[in-house]
């Protein structure tokens, strides 16, 4: 019996009658605690929608999502985040009016973040300590030299790394990354791979949507393949590479196993 941290059971999401996620029977799969799950599938398979359902951006039409046995499918994004879930977005999201270091600082659960503490000036001691944590996170993603820069000067790949840094400072128990290598140059990809391997080794559960299979398959210990919103295959990276259904639907016939 493996220890499952996140479990989807019969999850269905419909938009105006169109079933984006679920297929005929609803989508069900589990994620092992401390595991590294790759979520792959053709464009439009429902990968990002599945992330949105898990993280509370939208509720499922039917079915349940449980985190450590507790139902989270009706929670808001802030609600799931408070339970230790973190996520990045397919289109990277940044706070445009804040500096790069402040973009990361927002990720921290500042104990004196309320309006009263602000007016009384009670936030200063904690701020100094948090600044160090944010700087360390920027260091890890290779943006330390640009901490006071504006986010509008960052490239698409750098924005992704900034989003990762904002989640890293929170130390989430379970981290969902949506196409983290898209638009990221090979050097930064190497850095990202190192970060993810480090998180994995430290016990963080990871779920990663990715089209860059070379990157993903070297890191993941299990893979879920979606097609048309339904589960097509589930197994170790080696099983998936050899699965004829996956080759036909996603990898392509000339894929080298």
């Amino acid at each position: 019996m493996t220890d499952t941290i996140l479990k989807l059971d019969g999850v269905v999401k419909e938009f105006a009658g169109f079933r984006a996620v679920g297929g005929p029977e609803g989508l069900s799969f589990g994620v092992r605690r401390g595991g590294f799950l790759g979520l792959i599938g053709p464009n439009g398979a429902g990968k990002s929608t599945t992330f949105n359902l898990i993280s509370g951006v939208m509720p499922p039409t039917r079915g349940s999502v449980t985190l450590d046995g507790a139902e989270i499918s009706q929670l808001s994004t802030a609600g799931t985040a408070a339970l230790g879930l973190g996520r990045t977005f397919q289109t990277p999201r940044a706070f445009g009016s804040l500096s790069i270091i402040d973009n990361v600082m927002v990720g921290l659960a500042h104990p004196e973040e309320g309006p009263l503490a602000a007016m009384l000036g009670r936030w200063k001691p904690a701020e100094r300590q948090f600044l160090g944590r944010a700087e360390a996170a920027l260091e890890r993603v290779g943006l330390a030299g640009r901490r006071h820069d504006s986010v509008s000067n960052l490239s698409g790949g750098e924005l992704r790394m900034l989003e990762v840094a904002r989640q890293l400072v929170r130390e989430p128990r379970i981290l969902l990354l949506d196409e983290p290598t898209a638009g990221v140059d090979p050097a930064l990809q190497g850095k990202l791979s190192e970060i993810l391997a480090g998180l994995h080794a430290a016990g963080t559960t990871l779920i990663v949507v990715e089209h860059n299979l070379g990157f993903l398959m070297s890191l993941a210990d299990s893979v879920v393949v979606l097609q048309n919103g339904a589960l097509l295959a589930e197994g170790t990276p080696d099983d998936i590479r050899r699965d004829p259904a996956v080759i036909a639907a996603y990898l392509g016939a000339d894929h080298e196993a």
Binding site: G96, G107, E112, A118, E127
Partner: protein, 306 residues
Amino acid sequence: MIQSLILSTLMFGAMFSVLTVSLNLQYARGGMINFGTVAYFAAGAYAYAIFTQEPPSGLDQYAFGFDMPWWAGFLAAGAAAMLFALITGWPTLRLRGEYLALTTFAFAEVFHSILLNERRIGNGSVGMANVERPDPAAIGLGDTLGYTLAACALMLLTAWLFHRLLASPYGRLVDATRDDEIAAESVGKDTARVRLQIFVISAIPIGFAGALYAMITTLVAPALFSAEVTFFVWIALALGGERTILGAILGTMALVFFQELVRVIPFETVRGAQIAASAEEVITGILFILVLRWQPWDRLSRKAGS
């Protein structure tokens, strides 16, 4: 004449600056368009009048007058504006952009209509006259000077508190909420709460300013609290550049100065005064269009930035 021009500009400029500084917080930092500003101002003024007025007698149609000291009325004004912001903000803040603008505008119109038609609140269209107020002579000041200083003190205190509020992790959270709510939610921030907090916090000084306005004019009546007040403070905010607290204050001062300037000219005829008053409105409108079209403050700040 010059002295009275400066004093009345400072008095009304500082008082309306409280409104523009609050709008600056709501709009430029909170990202919420409130086109019902006058309602919070009126709530403060009426609360002040009701708390300080003597109980109704004779021809009075209002139902409540608590005959309390001015400071109690002043505190009630802030509380009334805060309460009104809670009531109007809670159901509407899920709306975005122009939808929120329309809803807040509608709330203010409904409130105005209630003040006009429900005479038990404040005598209907007649309003409440001879509003109680502290006499500045008690501390050896002239009337105008005393209230000018009070208005300036309220403005500076509001600006200072809002500056402190925003130069903090909370300010960062407010900016993040405005920039991208979903991203802020994804790191566990309750953005709905932040928006309501900003909406309510910025309404409180508007209520205090309403009380001050009631003291200065010694009258509260629906005619004083029409949508024109809302448009006036929005124009002042746009004139001064909505990004900074200082810009909000300077824009308000400039607009009030312009109005007061027309008022002090000793006109020979009624006709002359009417023409001047109309010309002042036309010129205000043209100024507004020019500022919106060429955005001089944006250019200045870009120059300063580069």
